[in-house]
Amino acid sequence: MRRVAKLSAACIATAALALTATACGSTSSDSNSSSSSASASGGGKGIKIGLAYDVGGRGDRSFNDSAARGADRAEKEFGGSIKELTAKTSDTEADREQRLTDLASAGYNPIVAVGFSYATSVDKVAKQFPKVSFGLIDSVATSPNVDSITFTEEQGSYLAGVAAALKTKKDHVGFIGGVDTPLIKKFAAGYVQGVHDTNAKVKVDVQYLTHGSDLSGFSSPDKGKEAASGMLDNGADVIYTAAGSSGNGAIEAVHGVKGAWAIGVDSDQYNIPGLAAYKTSILTSMVKNVDVGVYDFIKSVHDGKPLTGNQVYSLAKGGVGLATSGGYIDDIKAQLDAAKKKIVDGTVKVKTS
């Protein structure tokens, strides 16, 4: 009997502990919630930018970072604050909606949804908050208060392909895509076409890290490294990776092989501090100026004339292009410029799939 008493005492003690923990919480919560609502209604100074990142978030040295740079620039110029939230691989529609709703109801305006997976949720939340301006990267939404920011990745990737075909010594190059989504296939299609238009003999390996609804290929440097090592072993010596933060692993693997080149993506990866150790292996980067898109959108909201509809950032408009940092592609500048001119004036049509 004494043991039972002891046991129940232990149970009561733990329950009490649990209760006190929550009770402590509820008292301090009042001030917490009131302060957050006050700041929401007060608005504060300058512009309140909400950013909902894709998987990987700020610090992926690639796609999300590019969006972050645009927001940072806007924050510096217009004053104000940035609130950032990041997606998880296990996200459902409800999580994405929650993220956008949280931002909108806390008074953030504009709100930028970074990544195509937000397409449906942006549409839904934008209808609930018709006075808030939303920006959507890489996909197209229909609501009137959404600015859909898309890029012609295939054109930039075409140039990357031209550079790869001119730089390869073994006539063998590779492409690593994060996930076999239509978006990443645009990168692959442009790259392959660019390589073959330049030198039809060059062999191109195309590989995707994950497939279908498994989006972890955008945030797994280990998978990127493994895939790149495999391609290098197979004899490829220029590898273009469009895979979010997984690309970091690919670049690392390429750096380990002498004479091999990596082509970065989205950001100018030569200048990313986290990749400084490998920058001598980064031939160029297919820069997708998400930052320009984000900045233009925030600026338009700041100026009181929010952009809406679909803004296409093409090669002609400087939305995509090759980075020249490091000077490794200076010697082939003439060929690249010629290829660029052909795309801009329409003599070369780049395929999207």
Binding site: V4, S26, T89, S90, T92, Q98
Partner: protein, 375 residues
């Protein structure tokens, strides 16, 4: 004697509650330490979780999430009761949801025909996918752990192959999302409008039905008894006339059929199509929830609700400036604590039982000697 059984039952109940409670309190303590280590105030975090998590829209979100998680937990628990580790729930529900979505997109029949058809298609596909592992285990003795993990990868590959424009899917506006043909609006499952809090998915009632059926079949039928017997001792079950192979195959089929339901709340109530952003990994969440709920229908429900609550509130914690990784830490710690706490409590219960039996035996042994002395 009567008094003794009463006491044992009370004690078992107490022990049963002690384990999860101990686990959650331990997890709370560890989480507190982790948040402290990141230099933030843990009590602010907990209070934010409570206020935010009890808001009406959060309740709807949690119930909707828990619907999915509950089905996942039950699917895994059926295997657990049988000592089968069905890791393949993840692949089973994804491939089931995919084929159900393909079928649903092609159907133009009224809802009362298409909804049952879609659900049956999902259950069938899930059962077939799990059945492969069941057959391999029965005929070739392949460990279901290995085969179901492999089948997960194969399911991913099959979906990736078929979910392409021109095969069984189409490209959506914007050119970035591929999905199956959307369901006809007649095939949408009913939902309860709770006003500004959002839509409560009607599939929650199916989940409750599944829970009741799980409890009834396992606890109140001959089949359930056989299943639990095989789980506890295969040789004993075989000796008492239960066909172990048949039980393994059947329980894999049932586990797979329930796994097929996991994607249905999302498909019929929310997305209405299977696209390349269909949620993944819920099968693994189901393993954690089944562990947390001790394979008990009500325990699994509580575990599923807790999981939904944690996801909802930690999403908001990120908004409040806490690190987003905190969710993973809390969930991981809870599962670890649960496993440890159950083992600790089980050993403690075993020790107490041994002591009691020992005491009774000693008393019995002492009694006759007394009589002898008197005689």
């Amino acid at each position: 004697m009567n008094k003794l059984t009463q006491r044992i039952d009370k004690e078992r109940l107490l022990l049963g509650i002690a384990a999860p409670l101990l686990a959650i309190v331990a997890a709370l303590v560890v989480t507190t330490l982790v948040i402290l280590a990141t230099g933030k105030n843990p009590f602010d975090a907990f209070s934010d979780m409570v206020t935010y998590g009890t808001a009406s829209d959060s309740q709807v979100y949690i119930l909707n999430k828990a619907t999915t998680y509950y089905l996942a937990g039950v699917a895994v628990a059926i295997g657990f009761r049988m000592n089968l580790f069905n890791i393949g729930v993840d692949g089973q529900y994804r491939i089931a949801a995919f084929f159900a979505a393909v079928l649903g997109g092609a159907l133009t029949t009224p809802g009362w025909i298409s909804i049952p058809l879609i659900i049956l298609c999902a259950m069938g596909t899930g059962a077939v996918w799990a059945g492969i592992a069941g057959v391999l285990k029965v005929t070739r003795g392949v460990s279901e752990v290995i085969s179901t993990i492999m089948l997960n990868a194969i399911a991913t590959a099959i979906i990736a192959y078929l979910l392409q424009p021109g095969k069984l899917a189409e490209l959506q506006a914007g050119g970035t999302v591929v999905s199956t043909k959307p369901l006809h609006s007649d095939a949408y499952f009913f939902q309860i409008n709770t006003g500004p809090a959002g839509e409560l998915w009607g599939f929650i009632f199916i989940a409750v039905l599944v829970g009741v059926a799980y409890w009834f079949v396992l606890g109140r039928t001959r089949f359930g008894f056989d299943l639990r017997t095989v789980g506890q001792s295969e040789s004993a079950a075989a000796a008492s006339g239960v066909s172990v192979k048949k039980m393994i195959a059947t329980s894999m089929l049932i586990s797979g059929a329930i796994a097929g339901l996991i994607g249905m709340p999302t498909l019929l109530n929310d997305s209405h199509q299977f696209s390349n952003d269909f949620p993944t990994g819920i099968g693994f969440t189901g393993i954690a929830i089944a562990l947390l709920g001790r394979n008990n229908p009500i325990g699994i429900a509580l575990g599923a609700l807790l999981w939904g609550f944690l996801e909802r509130t930690t999403n908001h914690l990120e908004f409040q400036g806490y690190d987003k990784e905190i969710l993973g830490v809390i969930q991981g710690v809870i599962v670890l604590c649960v496993v440890i706490a159950y083992e600790v409590v089980r050993r403690y219960g075993l020790k107490r039982q041994q002591q009691r039996v020992g005491a009774e035996l000693a008393a019995q042994a002492a009694a006759p000697t007394e009589k002898q002395e008197v005689a």
